[in-house]
């Protein structure tokens, strides 16, 4: 009889595994499946990732060196994870070459800001509900739009697909005393969301819309192994979504 209880505990423990995996929400446009073949055979150009990490209760709220190191790690992980998942990508950074730096500021920086703005204006499901325990997939009712002039980039780089990854992290629980104090002290709200997450966005500049957006919850103390697995898992999800 005892062995049954042990087996039961084992299986329940395994079952709870998935419940403890953190939240992932994947949203894609209705047109995404139409693009999947061209994405697989073509290329996605990733804009330099952005890490926004707020350390509440510390003397220095933002540690720019830490953020920069995380951005570098994300770039490295994007390249490796995409290669292992057989997705053709290249990452554009302002620091790559002097000639590219000018082009980066003129074109990519605006595109990046526009993607961030479009993303910020969206409802973040991780803020609102706790019911998503595993990977949830949705389709955009209306795909978020970016500025139409970016279409010129598809001619320059011969691909209309541009990607952007980022991290947003605040070491406070929403509505907690820490979070309230932080907002009071800085006379502002944390604009991008309340939780800490990794986001992965792909835009099609030819029709000026975000076609894929993934939000993945991460811990506040992000370190290299967590980044490595998070970015890999994100590309793994992208690969699976492209198959459908």
């Amino acid at each position: 009889m005892k062995k049954y209880y042990i087996l039961l505990i084992l299986f329940v423990s395994i079952f709870c595994d998935g419940c403890r995996s953190g939240k992932v929400i994947i949203e894609r446009s209705e047109t995404f499946s139409g693009f999947s073949n061209t994405i697989k055979s073509g290329k996605i150009i990733y804009i330099e990732p952005e890490a926004s990490i707020y350390k509440i209760n510390k003397e220095v709220d933002k540690d720019f060196n830490y953020e920069e190191n995380i951005e570098k790690a994300v770039i490295k992980n994007i390249e490796e994870s995409a290669k292992r998942n057989k997705i053709n990508v290249s990452v554009m950074t302002g620091a790559m070459k002097k000639e590219q730096a000018a082009g980066y500021v003129n074109s990519f920086l605006r595109l990046k800001n526009d993607i961030i703005m479009a993303n910020t204006l969206q409802d973040n499901p991780l803020d609102r509900t706790k019911k998503y325990s595993k990977q949830t997939e949705k389709i955009f009712v209306y795909s978020p739009k970016i500025f139409p002039e970016a279409a010129v980039l598809s001619q320059i780089y011969s691909t209309p697909y541009f990607g952007f990854c980022g991290i947003f992290s605040v070491n406070a629980v929403p509505k907690s005393e820490d979070a309230r104090q932080y907002m009071k002290r800085n006379k502002k709200t944390i604009s991008k969301g309340k939780y800490f997450y990794f986001y992965h966005i792909i835009v099609n500049v030819e029709n000026s819309e975000i076609i894929y957006r993934e939000i993945r919850s991460i811990p506040t103390d992000v370190d290299n192994p967590i980044l490595y697995t998070t970015v890999y898992d994100s590309f793994y999800s992208l690969k699976n979504t492209l198959r459908r």
């Binding site: 039961l8 084992l10 395994i14 595994d17 403890r20 953190g22």
Partner: protein, 243 residues
């Protein structure tokens, strides 16, 4: 009652497998599913060499299977109280060392279930709890133990005793163990970890005709992981490579 439990187990099994396979996120440490590792340090008095392969089943659960060898030559020590039930006498707590070193070999198969505890760290990284079972065979050569003779040496104030030699081959033993540990991954490829736990050795002497004294000797000499007839402590240091 039995039917209900069986039904619940079937339901839990079904949900656990389907829930993890269909709905779950990507399992494994960035797609890497197998960790080959070795045990560096184990046992009370000798190094235990073993090779384990840890398979990542789900996001936080792994199963390891492995093989373990143990080979050691050691003095055998006996306390007089271990083999003599008579009246107390002098030097009762002083261990007696046998004139010949015994060699002990074991070969065991190991199966281990681990559950990693950190929410955002996928297996096999982070703190974990584990439960394992070793099943193997024990071989003792040049083993010796004291045997008390019924007569009592009044002049020496101790019982007469004599050495008995023994060799035993392939005595089966089982060793269930449970504990906790921590495993870290370096450079996304190399693993290093430690674990500590308590174990209980099931070493049935009545099946093989092993004298009680021999088992006590094995326990006193080799202790810990191999042949402790009671609850023992164990510690392991492991290094590995993640595929």
């Amino acid at each position: 009652m039995k039917k209900t439990i069986k039904f619940l187990i079937a339901l839990a099994l079904l949900f656990s497998v389907t829930g993890n396979l269909i709905l779950a996120q990507n399992d494994g440490y960035a797609g890497k599913r197998i960790l080959l590792k070795t045990d560096l340090l184990s046992g009370k008095k000798a190094f235990l060499t073993g090779l384990d392969a840890e398979f990542i089943l789900f996001r936080h659960s792994t199963i390891s299977v492995g093989i373990r060898f143990f080979k050691n030559k050691s003095d055998q020590k006996y306390l007089q109280k271990d083999y003599y039930d008579g009246p107390t006498y002098a030097n009762v707590d002083k261990p007696k060392v046998m004139p010949q070193k015994a060699s002990l070999k074991t070969l065991a198969l190991n199966i281990e279930y681990r559950r990693y505890l950190k929410l955002f760290r996928p297996a096999p990284y982070g703190p974990f709890v584990y439960a394992s079972l070793q099943a193997g065979w024990l071989t003792v050569t040049n083993g010796m133990y004291y045997r008390a003779i019924a007569e009592y040496d009044v002049t020496a104030d101790k019982p007469y005793d004599e050495y008995v030699k023994y060799n035993y081959k392939n005595l089966p033993f089982f060793l269930p163990e449970a504990g906790f540990g921590y495993q870290a991954i370096f450079k996304n490829k190399f693993a290093a970890g430690m674990k500590a736990g308590i174990n209980y050795t099931i070493f049935d002497s009545s099946l093989t005709g092993t004298p009680k004294e021999a088992i006590i000797g094995v326990k006193n000499t080799y202790g810990g992981n191999i042949a402790n007839v009671k609850v023992g402590l164990s510690a392991y240091l492991q290094i590995g490579y993640l595929f």
